[in-house]
Amino acid sequence: MHFARTLAATAVTVALTAGAAAHAAISDDAVKIGILTDLSGTYSDLAGPGVVVAAEMAIADVGGKVAGKPVVLLKADHQNKADIAANKAREWGDVEKVDAYVDLVTTSTALAVMEIAKQNQKVVLISGAGSSRITNEDCNPTTVHWTYDTYALAKGTGSAVVKEGGKTWFFLTADYAFGQNLQKDVAAVVEANGGKVLGAVKHPFPASDFSSFILQAQASGAQVIGLANAGSDTTNAIKAANEFGVVQGGQKLAGLLVFISDVHSLGLPVAQGLTLTTGFYWDYDDKTREWSKRFFDKTGKMPTMVQAGVYSSLMHYFKAIEATGSDDGPTVVKKMKETPVEDFFARNGKIREDGRMVHDMYLAEVKKPAESKAPWDYYKILRVIPGDEAYLPLAESKCPLVKKS
């Protein structure tokens, strides 16, 4: 009798705890990942279909299951329009019960989706978008910014080039907020390191004819020409610089937002000598080569830092779900922030309280055609920039999540 009662009580307790655990566990019996990226536009080369492949690799590598529940992948082309991204993200959150939004290429789409995540508490893993606003004044508790940001790229390239002897600078700046902020950031770094800014010229955004701007830059006599622009503006400027023999004339080009896909499309004869900062290079060591080789076999291209970053961020996300047994946004991100990140992509990585994944960055120079021994052998790594040096210090952060002591 007594035994029976104990048994019954135990059974009830077990049932209740099991019920509670199930409640806190994976919602809708699946972990749903929604990739929002540019599948058709300007950035489809650096993110796009390659990001989808990277995500599929991540899912395959965890056996298609996390915490015993299947992982479902959804993808959409946000066409770099904030309203399409916002609409899709909201629909995925409400109807499809997506647990995490992944990638997001332009800053406007990223900020739009972050607003929605603020309301529905979903996880946002940003790789493609670059603005440092994402973890600075606009930071939010469930967003993690993985691969790079403009601050780190500007700072890495700016300080390293000055240290290498590039003391005088001239900027080609895209005439809108992004370009101007980039120029301001780099100019501050250059001056702090004892360099000097001789001048700058603003070009319309987007521009295709850079000849007059390149001539001005050439005439300035500066040792370094900083390209405070992105995408097709950068590649067009590099092409024009090549035509006017800027690098051959002894001046250096510093790209502030350049991806390996840009270098690939320009070709080494045009891009050679360009200095840039990147968050990932496929030919860095055995671990990066091993993963990139697998990626290459599926896509025929080496991964950009954005694509490698998506894989890395998803693996870390899956690990956190595995560890907590839950796919609830705030719980998972909390766990992600507690766990250090160390894989083929991130060295000495950690996610700070503002959501910034801080990891080592690399200062690279594009090789001369003669130095390149194999396809995609493009970069010479000049220096490893430790994460804490590369990213905005927490002390200067405007993010409300950062506790100031």
Partner: protein
Amino acid sequence: MYQKALYTALLLLGLVAPYAIYPVFLMKVLCFALFACAFNLLLGFAGLLSFGHAAFFGLAGYVCGHVLKVWGLPTELGLIVGTLAAGALGLAVGALAIRRQGIYFAMITLALSQMVYFFFLQAPFTGGENGLQGVPRGHFLGVVDLRSDLALYYVVLAVFVAGFWLVQRTVDSPFGQVLKAIRENEPRAISLGYEVDRYKLVAFVLSASLAGLAGALKSVVLQLASLGDAHWHMSGEVVLMTLLGGMGTILGPVVGAATVVTLQNYLASSPIGSYVPAPVVLGVIFVLCVLAFRRGIVGELAALVRKNLNLG
């Protein structure tokens, strides 16, 4: 009589639709439908092809977003201020543009709207490339909490119906008759004693204001205003919507807007979309429409119905 029955049926459909289809998507369709109706008022009934309507749509979105987010005014005031701003800009642009005709008119509107676009790109309050994010939905008339998608949907539907009714009334009014006369033969309208410039200007301002209302509504629905709304692509998109649905028909723009938005949304995540990019599909449809059925979806349907009735 048929028209009344049709409208009633459509209204009923609109009332029950959010229970079957995702409401935010429907709201987006309604915003673009209103935008296309406004555009059609100008192109379809006054014969003026404006290639700068995105400026009004975008401006109202930014103004409404700014008013709601930074000044913290109630939602309905945001919509009104946005609409008025677009109307004022319409007055300025219209006054300049109507002095010329045909392609020159289109070019002037395009040039002025590009100026507006670059202003938005540079102006600090728009957030430039990043757009204006986190616009609060607020409460309608201080009572209805618009954070609920369903509540917001009915507000948007009501605003849309009001806008649509206004367009219909304008077209049916003597003023609308004069507009049609100007479209058909401007010198004759002048010789009949009409001051055509005034008619054109009023039509332009009306159209710009309604486009603004649609833009303001969209910034409340999606809680953001982005540079894309003011880009000339958007001006092109509204031309596409209107032509696809049927220029000069009342319902055409609504059908066209619904088709385009649905396709954009569907292709964004469909398997077809990963082989053929959404813009390409839209382009092909547009070419087919221009080549094969020039009256647009509604125009062709109406012609078909008319033919059958005559035969019967």
